[in-house]
Amino acid sequence: MPRIRVEVDGETYEDDVEPRLLLVHYLRERLGKVGTPVGCDTTNCGACTVLLDGLSVKSCSVLAVQADGLPVTTVEGLSLDGTGDHPLQQAFHRAHALQCGYCTPGMIMASLDLLRDNPDPSEQEVREGLEGNLCRCTGYQNIVRAVRSAATEMRGREVTS
C-alpha cells in the first residue's frame, strides 16, 4: 500500500492508503474531516470541493495518492487563525445563502477559489465561477449575493485565505 504525506488544514498526516481510496473518503473516514460531504457519483455536484495545492478540485474525483506531498484545504480549515468564521462563512449566514446546507462547504470552497482569482466578481462572474456547484434549495440568488458581499468584506480586510 502506498504511503502518503499530506498537509490538511495546516496539519501534516502520514498514512498508508489503498490506491483506489478517493481523497474525499480519506478526508472523511481517515481524518474525520466530515465537513466535506459527498453529494454525487458523477463529478457534477461540487459538494466535495476542496483546495488541492491552492486550486479547487472535486475531491471525489481525485485519488488520495494523488494528493501525496500537496497541501489540502477543506472548509474546516478556513478559520484557523482563531478569529472566528471566515468572511465567506459569515456572508453565507448573513445572506441566507443556504437552506439544507449540504452544498455549502463546496460552495464556499469554490467561492474562495473564485475570489482568489477575481477579488471583485460581477454577478455573472460569480455564477460562472460556481457553475460546478449545484444547490437544490436556494435558487442560487442568495448564494451569489453572499459571495459578492464576502468579496467586499475581504477586499476591505485584505483577507486572502
Partner: protein, 286 residues
C-alpha cells in the same frame, strides 16, 4: 461508489511512463487529470488492472513554441491551456473551446491530451482538433515516436488510433497565418453539461473568398466528424449571408447523431445546421 481495485503506477518521467505502459498490461489505463476516468471507475463502468498516473511527469505539462507551430503537452490542464499566452495567440479556438469545458474545478484537473485520448464524441476538444487539423504526437517503447493526424486519430466510439502500449505525449498545432477566423459554438442544457451538439470552425478568407474552411462537429456520431458537405460548398466561394446559410443546411449530412434524453437524432441534425451557421458567422465577422 468506491472504485474497483487496481494496481497504481506513478512514473516520474516520460521515459519511465513509456517503459511502464507495456508491462502494465492490455487492461491498463493511463490516468491524466482523471475527470472522466474517475467517474467511470466510481460508477463501475471500467475495471482497469492498473492505472499509470502521469501526474508526476512534469515534461508532459509543457506548452512550447515549435517554430511555425505550438505544441501543447498532453497533460497540460484546461486551466493552464485557457491562460497560456502561446495558446491564446496561436490557437484561440483551443482557448475558447477549453473555457467551455465543464466547470472551474474540473478544468483545474482535466487535461488537454486526456480529453483527446478519452475520445468522447460529446467532448469539446476532439471537434476542435479536427477543425484545426492538429497532429497527435505519440510515443511507445516498441515503436518510438509517431505522428497521427487528427483525422486518423478518432477511430470509433471512445477509441483512438493509439496502440495499447502507446502514450499521447502532446499535440502540435500549426500557427495560423493571416486571414483566419475561428469559433466554437456549443449548445448545452446546463452550464457544466456535455454539449448536446457543438460546432468548431476555422475559416481562412483572402479578399472575401473562402480560401480554406474546416468544420468539426461534436456529438453528431460515434466519433467527432468534419462537416465535409458544408466545407465543399463554401470552399473557393465568397461568403455572402445567403451562401453561408445555404451551405450550413448541409451540416448534418453523413452524420449519425445519437438520441438520448437531451434530444432526438433529428433535433441534433437541426442543431448542427443552426450552430454551423452561427459558428461560421461568428468566425467571419470578427
Amino acid at each position: 461508489m468506491i472504485p474497483p481495485t487496481f494496481e497504481y503506477l506513478r512514473p516520474e518521467s516520460l521515459d519511465e511512463a513509456v517503459r511502464m505502459l507495456p508491462d502494465a498490461g492490455e487492461d491498463a489505463k493511463v490516468l491524466a487529470g482523471g475527470q472522466s476516468l474517475m467517474p467511470l471507475l466510481r460508477l463501475r463502468l471500467a475495471y482497469p488492472d492498473a492505472l499509470v498516473d502521469l501526474d508526476r511527469v512534469a515534461e508532459l505539462r509543457e506548452i512550447r513554441d515549435d517554430g511555425d507551430a505550438i505544441v501543447i503537452g498532453a497533460t497540460a490542464t484546461h486551466h493552464q491551456v485557457v491562460r497560456d499566452p502561446l495558446v491564446r495567440e496561436h490557437a484561440p479556438l483551443v482557448a475558447a473551446a477549453t473555457a467551455t469545458v465543464a466547470d472551474p474545478a474540473v478544468r483545474h484537473r482535466g487535461t488537454f491530451g486526456g480529453s483527446l485520448a478519452h475520445a468522447d464524441p460529446a467532448g469539446d476538444l476532439p471537434a476542435v482538433a479536427l477543425a484545426l487539423d492538429v497532429v497527435m504526437l505519440a510515443r511507445s517503447a516498441s515503436g518510438g515516436d509517431r505522428e497521427i493526424p487528427a483525422r486518423e486519430f478518432f477511430v470509433d466510439w471512445m477509441t483512438t488510433a493509439l496502440e495499447p502500449d502507446e502514450l499521447l505525449t502532446g499535440v502540435r498545432i500549426r500557427k495560423p497565418g493571416p486571414g483566419w477566423g475561428f469559433h466554437y459554438e456549443k449548445f448545452h442544457r446546463t452550464a457544466q453539461a456535455w454539449a448536446i451538439v457543438g460546432v468548431a470552425c476555422a475559416v481562412r478568407r483572402v479578399q472575401g473568398a473562402v480560401e480554406d474552411v474546416r468544420i468539426g462537429l461534436t456529438n453528431m456520431g460515434s466519433v467527432p466528424l468534419r462537416a465535409s458537405a458544408v466545407e465543399e460548398r463554401l470552399g473557393g466561394g465568397t461568403l455572402s449571408d445567403s451562401a453561408l446559410r445555404e451551405a450550413s443546411e448541409h451540416a448534418a449530412e453523413g452524420t449519425e447523431p445519437p438520441a438520448d434524453l437531451h434530444g432526438s437524432a433529428d433535433y441534433r441534425r437541426h442543431l448542427a445546421r443552426v450552430l454551423t451557421r452561427r459558428a461560421l458567422t461568428a468566425a467571419t465577422t470578427r
